[in-house]
């Protein structure tokens, strides 16, 4: 917070009574706008929350946000309904997400460093290849990939979901980090090499510490996307004890048969809690980073 305030004064550079007043009015206006927008953003989630407490036969016709009667039955039913408690699914999702974060941060930053900072033959070619893997719809590589993982004996384990992350398979993050690394002053490297630093030391001691915002961004996205991912777990996990939360959620509803909509909305709401907390915690890291180091260029 402090840095935010400092930043503002520095950025605007204004002073005096009138500007302060003007600023107060502006801030009020900004708050008003932001609150209004927040309600707009939040409405669907509030609706979901209310649906989770609503009698099931009201969910699809009710127009008001306020349920006619409140009940936590959906939560109880949802948590225990699948023979295995939802705690197992939360744990599975958490394990996969944490491993994915470690893998992505470690290996994507290595690759990004190579693409952004090192000279080597074929760099442009490999960079194009890397981006190319981003462009093919996954639906058509699914089956060959499944065959591969099946031959390796990895089906029905977390390995197909986690190992690729440790092999920098997520081009999105490589590209993201490349863009940020390239934004860092190149004199840093040149100065470091004067001091006799190896590329590894430049990567580890200079670039990474200055890259907190992008690393935090990568961590947040990895967590959320892994947490929300549905298709890969659907294909690779079969044993319900290995299910992730998203996979478990999809078992509540089958549109041709009797479904548990209340349970779906109740558990969907609960599933949002960990991601939301994770986001709140990690976004603080976004605020730190180079902007606060006062580095000279």
């Amino acid at each position: 917070m402090i840095t935010d305030v400092q930043r503002l004064t520095v950025v605007t550079g204004d002073s005096g009574e009138t500007t302060r007043l003007r600023k107060g009015a502006l801030s009020l206006l900004a708050h008003g706008l932001l609150t209004l927008a927040s309600i707009l953003m939040l409405y669907p989630l509030l609706w979901m929350l209310s649906a989770s407490f609503r009698p099931e036969n009201e969910i699809f016709t009710a127009t008001s946000l306020w349920p006619s009667s409140w009940s936590i039955q959906s939560y109880i039913r949802g948590w225990t309904g699948l023979r295995i408690g939802f705690d197992t699914f939360f744990l599975n999702s958490l394990i996969i997400a944490v491993l994915a974060i470690i893998g992505n941060l470690a290996t994507c930053s290595l690759a990004a460093f190579a693409f952004a900072r090192l000279e080597f033959r074929g760099r442009r070619f490999w960079f194009a290849m890397m981006l190319g893997t981003l462009m093919l719809p996954y639906q058509v590589t699914l089956i060959p990939q499944y065959v591969l993982f099946h031959q390796l004996g990895w089906v029905n384990t977390f390995l197909p979901l986690v190992v690729p992350k440790f092999l920098a398979a997520d081009s999105f993050f490589i590209f993201l980090m490349v863009q940020f690394f390239r934004g860092l002053p190149k004199e840093l490297d040149e100065a470091a090499m004067m001091d006799g630093c190896s590329p590894w030391r430049i990567y580890w001691k200079i670039l990474l510490p200055l890259s907190t915002p992008v690393l935090a961004t990568a961590a947040i996205f990895t967590f959320i996307w892994t947490w929300d991912d549905f298709f890969a777990p659907l294909i690779y996990l079969s044993d319900i004890r290995t299910y992730t939360v998203q996979l478990a959620l999809r078992t509540f509803v089958d549109s041709s048969a009797e479904s548990d909509w209340g349970g779906l909305f109740a558990m969907s709401t609960l599933t949002l809690v960990p991601v939301f907390i994770f986001f709140l915690v990690f976004q603080r890291l976004l605020i730190e980073g180079i902007a606060t180091t006062g580095m000279k260029r």
Binding site: D4, L8, V10, V11, S27, L34, S38, M41, L42, P44, L45, I59, T63, L110, A111, F115, W126, M129, L131, G132, M135, L136, P137, Q139, T141, I143, L148, V163, P164, L167, A168, A169, F175, L176, Q179, F180, R182, G183, K186, E187, P209, P213, F221, I224, D228, L249, L264, S268, L272, F279, L280, Q283, L286, G289, A291, T293, G294, M295, K296, R297
Partner: protein, 317 residues
Amino acid sequence: MASAPSHEVAQGGSVAGAAAPSWWAAARSKNGPGYLFLLPWFIGFFGLTLGPILISLYLSFTDFDLLTAPHWNGGANFVRIFTADAKFIQSMRVTLFFVIVSVPLKLAFALGVALLLNRGMRGLPIYRAIFYLPSLLGASVAIAVLWRQLFAGNGLVNQFLLNFGIVGPSWISNPRYSLWTLIALAVWQFGSPMIIFLAGLRQIPLDMYEAASLDGAGRWRMFRKITLPLLTPVIFFNAIIQTIEGFKSFTPAFIISGGTGNPINSTLFYTLYLYQEAFGFFRMGYASALAWILLVIVALFTSFSFLTSKYWVHYDN
């Protein structure tokens, strides 16, 4: 955090001349370190990614039906796609329209809100979290129900419009407007590019603003002369990524139209059509051909962006 070494280094840098130690020049000119840092990626690329990609290329020249061995049928898939497939044209039209409209809108929203939320104001973390919340929902089944609550004939949007005497259509199920509700969904989930913009804004050194403000630059001038140019690598990134993702967009239409792309194929996204062909109608070979056509289109677009990026993206070197 880590300010000490960077400071030291930066000062060293300002003193340093052009002459570098010879071992470093040698190391740089050699390829060793580059390939070493890329090692995990190479293992993944050759071990996990490349094989399936090449196989899908092979399959695009076959009649693979998921259940029996593929048979080579030459370019028959491609011939059919380009000469006799109305759904290909329709899905391409839908997707292009979606990309052209939703990507700039989403980026504008993300950048605008990021700029707003970057300023010193009370409660910013809360706002940031709230604006990111819709993106947390991802492709949850709940979205389909939610979107109908908003955009059906008696949905919230029309109830609001009624205050002004406007009787709105059923946006989500009218072929004239249904694609717009999906664009609205894409724009509503602007959280990811917003976060990337925020991170980018944080990377702009504060002292540049200090120097500019000493020179008497106003806010708008600083935005144009400092923020915008230094943000171009991130803008470039977001534009490329959102476009690629836009072309590949699948889940919103899959969930909201129940996988059909209706009404009247008005939300038949390219990858949705591809998915129907592959898993609904057992034509994985044909779907692979569709996928490779998409790859070529996206790759052309991306290469073009990279070529033009020389003129507007500013890296620090």
